[in-house]
Symmetry: C2
Subunit: 454 residues, 2 copies
């Protein structure tokens, strides 16, 4: 393998193939911190599509597994390294071209989500998808997981903004799919097939994104509730009538964890808090926010606060975004990502409370409530092996709970390696077989991200 | 084959398999009116998924080609019958269940688009996709072609509203993909792969649709222009700033054809007319429509008319929808569906004018201008063989023109059989091979809609 690796090193520009053990160690894990992560033979950091092709041709010739990696911020172990494999990091692929006339951007995968947003904002345009990690996650990783975020409730997820891709297949073939056309039904929907495929079908080397005009800054409404069910009912009523641009949920644990840190006067006695926003134009969102405030009040909200001051509104959104680090201050986190149909939100939260009590754990639930996509945050002490095991058990039980409520094992983080054991049970044998047939057709030797997702 | 067909007839409920020659004749063509259409062995009209499975198991066992058919309103020949094959019509699969709490509907494929809209409207909900044929096309056919429509410019296309599918594969296996979950990234995006696959990968037997709250009725602005380029420039400026809910284009031929019939006072001397709308809430769309009216004026519109009266607005939308039948009154139509990036709209229209002049044909261009998706309508007399040949030639030249301008051969109608000769050239060999690999993996015997799309 040493001589084969030397061939790869020689075939690529200087510095592209890295074998320094300290650097390799830093590419073993993503943010799932899989304790079983392997150590790769090499980290390959291409800058151009052709270099990705060279790497994959080499990997196919030598049957070397390839783990594609964006910014390494994944939470499901989709970029966990394998012993004897290579990690193909797209972090140096950072070009972007914005075309304000067609409202599209063509970008390499290594740009961070926040960098894409910033580049297009210079033209008065907006790339909506906004995972909580948007300042540290890459657009390529977003595409690999079909990432969501806070604005999904109105603006959809990553796949809704991907018009075209260039992908390199396992055998090194580069394929262009789609392009800067807003509507195009020629051939199968392969662009959409690659979005969310977690690096198992090919490596994305270029993306054509659809952009929207800059978002209108609307109004924000914050409400506290004495029960989760009341908050969930209010969410269901609102989403049946209007289209808020944000509808976020925090449970009591999250409210208190955030208040511990930010001291912004949140109601520590509340069972639930909703942060909602409307960005409709014309009498800036007032009609929608008045409506939402009235629904919250009718559902027994203990406190309702509305503002059309963008900074004041942003403070509450920041509080919601800060929930994960705030809860993380209590210990290490296992970050869940289960989705349930909206009416099951209260049942999910109470079920999680029971699981927490049974395993003597702190679990906080935050949620993109308008989508029914929840993030139970399981707190544990990694020095306490027994506790870590209880956390792992709770992690599985929460997925079982969600599936029992008609939900999914992952709403926006991906299956990766951590949820793979639950995938077949969730999809069923027929859909699992169909996944496998597509995978085998595109990657017959199974070199692309083996052990992840499907 | 007679005894094999008797087996199929016996295996399905009475009346499901039809062999009456007059009825068979009526299922030979869809609205592409392919003169080379075959005559099927039988038309099979199942009511349940299990019956579709029976039909496909039989077809696989006997290697009989299956042409899936919705309402037969397709314009690309995706449902053209084949000699010796069966036509599998989903027209009798007409159940629908609406769940207003999760804002989803589970429907069989045979319901018309308008019937779906009506069923969900009873719950104050809205299914947005609105192909011009919405009163006569089926939801299953919409899924097969990933149909678009007038509201796409803001609300997206069919795929954006399909949360889940039940599909029956060539071998008769029924597979459930997705479901009533707004966000779900477990496994490959197979739901999206089947949308737009034109019956080549499987037969859709059940659909879970995402619904929105009822649309807010906003304002309408109509503008006439002395040049297509001025109209196109106005469209580009508007879509860079706001998100209108409609942005439709008619050329001089269409304006005059509509005025011939409706006599509503359209400007017969105009080169282009734009019908735009905004449905933002709050001071009902006034801000957006005032903005659009001012952009039209700045770009030299010869007439601008705004209204917040829904009926008055609807009259102009109806005029736009009436453009196809109005032009059809001049002769038979070859209905094109090419898409171009927005800035190329004026070049496309002038290119089409040249093609029309060269071939001595009348060609009218209407367009979902906000998406760059155009429908050149080629008028010909089917009794005039030479003219029909010139029309066919123009049909191909318009696709070549669109591709040369960075556009696509089909924006929302599908490839079917009429555009298949252009697909490989448009996609390129790598993407074509990828399409083929997926097709072979899912339908190894090639019994599903052979000769259509890929």
């Amino acid at each position: 393998m040493d001589s084969a690796l030397a061939d790869l090193t020689a075939a690529l520009p200087d510095g592209t193939v890295v074998t320094d053990p300290d650097i390799l160690a830093s590419y073993r894990q993503d943010r799932a911190f899989d304790p079983d992560a392997g150590t790769p033979l090499a980290v390959v950091r291409p800058r151009r599509t052709e270099e990705v092709q060279t790497a994959l041709r080499w990997a196919t010739a030598h049957r070397v597994p390839v783990v594609p990696r964006g910014a390494g911020t994944g939470l499901s172990g989709g970029a966990t390294a394998l012993d004897g494999g290579i990690v193909l990091s797209t972090e140096l692929m950072r070009d972007i071209r914005v075309d304000p006339v067609t409202r599209t951007a063509v970008t390499q995968p290594g740009l961070l989500n926040a960098e894409v947003k910033k580049a297009v904002a210079e033209y008065g345009l907006w790339y909506p998808p906004d995972p909580s990690s948007y300042e540290i996650c890459s657009i390529g990783g977003n595409i690999a997981t079909n990432a969501g975020g806070l604005c999904c409730v109105k603006y959809g997820v990553t796949t809704d903004y991907v018009l075209g891709l260039q992908v390199v297949l396992a055998d090194g073939t580069a394929v262009r799919l789609g392009g800067p056309r807003l509507k195009d039904v020629a051939g199968l929907s392969l662009t959409k097939l690659f979005v969310g495929s977690e690096g198992t079908l090919g490596v994305v080397t270029e993306v054509t994104l659809k952009l929207l005009p800059a978002q209108y800054r609307g109004c924000t409404v914050v409400a506290s509730f004495a029960s989760v069910a009341a908050a969930a009912d209010a969410v269901v009523e609102i989403t049946g009538k209007i289209r808020p641009s944000m509808l976020e949920f925090m449970d009591a644990v999250a409210i208190n964890a955030v208040e511990d840190k930010l001291k912004m006067g949140l109601d520590r006695g509340a069972a639930a808090m909703i942060v909602a926003a409307s960005d409709d134009r014309g009498a800036p969102g007032v009609q929608d926010t008045e409506y939402m405030a009235s629904v919250f009040t009718e559902h027994g909200a203990t406190e309702v606060f509305s503002t059309d001051d963008p900074d004041e509104g942003e403070a509450f959104v920041a509080a919601r975004r800060f929930a994960i680090p705030a809860v993380e201050a209590k210990g290490s986190l296992l970050l869940e990502d289960v989705g349930v149909p909206l009416p099951a939100l209260a049942d999910l939260v109470s079920g999680v409370e029971k699981i927490a009590a049974q395993h003597d754990l702190m679990i906080s639930v935050i949620a993109h409530a308008g989508d029914g996509n929840t993030h139970p945050l399981i707190v544990f002490d990694p020095a306490d092996t027994a506790m870590e095991q209880r956390a792992q058990q709770a992690f599985g039980e929460i997925m079982d709970l969600a599936v029992g409520l008609g939900g999914t094992i992952t709403g926006e983080h991906g299956v990766g390696r951590m949820k793979r054991a639950w995938l077949a049970g969730y999809l069923g044998p027929e859909a699992m077989d169909l996944n496998r047939r597509i995978k085998d057709a595109l990657d017959p030797d199974g070199i692309l991200n083996p052990g992840a997702a499907i």
